[in-house]
């Protein structure tokens, strides 16, 4: 969907907020402009946060930055309760087939690295690196999707 279509859709959904005696063109341009800035920010974030640059404990770092409480046996609870299952599935969908395959084999069928390597006919080191990268990719995608969908604030509320 391009920016204009996106803005038309948003305007349609927000039509109740339009005041009949005000300027429709100005109102719509404001929606279009806001959408443009939002998409630009998203694109910039996607470009700058390449997987190699992201910290290993990506979500942990973000939760710590936002000041989430991390006490008890489930320190991720405060952040995970904001991320719905649809967002988790969308993050999994973003994985490449190579990453998703090893993730399913290891985490769903509990296959050890060695068995996965033998089954896929790849070195065990490749299984390890794909799993580690899949996990990091998932955390980055979870965070980006949750922020883009307004589930989690990107910055600390002052």
């Amino acid at each position: 969907m391009d920016l204009l279509q996106d803005a038309v859709l948003l305007a349609y959904k927000a039509i109740d907020s339009f005041q009949p005696d005000s300027n429709f063109r100005a109102w719509f341009l404001r929606i279009l402009t806001n959408r443009f800035y939002r998409v630009s920010q998203q694109n910039k974030r996607h470009q700058t946060e390449s997987l190699d640059d992201a910290p290993d404990l990506y979500l942990y770092d973000q939760a710590a930055r936002l000041g989430h409480s991390m006490d008890g046996d489930n320190p991720a609870a405060a952040i995970l309760e904001k991320i719905d299952q649809e967002t988790v599935r969308d993050a999994i969908d973003r994985l490449s087939d190579d990453y998703r395959t090893v993730a399913i084999m290891h985490y769903l069928t509990a296959m050890p690295y060695e068995d996965i390597a033998e089954s896929l006919d790849i070195p065990i080191g490749t299984v390890r690196s794909r799993l580690h990268r899949a996990r990091k990719q998932l955390q980055v995608s979870l965070w980006q999707l949750a922020v883009d969908r307004g589930l989690i604030p990107e910055e600390i509320n002052s």
Partner: protein
């Protein structure tokens, strides 16, 4: 007796520890460190929580092409 790892040694092994892919000696050394280090323990628990949350949803997403066949042939040969 197992010598506990340092924070860095645990951090370097955290992913393999989560995947239960360390040797018994390494697991014991990580366990010993996590008993005493609250920060590393919190990092580990956080990662384990996220992993479990994601794994619970893995069954709901489409399986990549030909993985079903691979898993079926593995089950047959088991």
């Amino acid at each position: 007796m197992t010598q506990p790892f340092s924070c860095k040694e645990v951090f370097d092994r955290l992913q393999d520890y989560l995947d239960r892919e360390l040797s018994p000696e390494e697991i014991a050394a990580v366990d010993a460190h996590l008993e005493d280090c609250k920060m590393c323990s919190t990092e580990y628990k956080f990662e384990a929580n996220v992993l479990r949350y994601v794994a619970d949803n893995l069954a709901e997403v489409p399986v990549p092409v030909d993985l079903n066949d691979r898993l079926a042939s593995l089950l047959k040969s088991a």
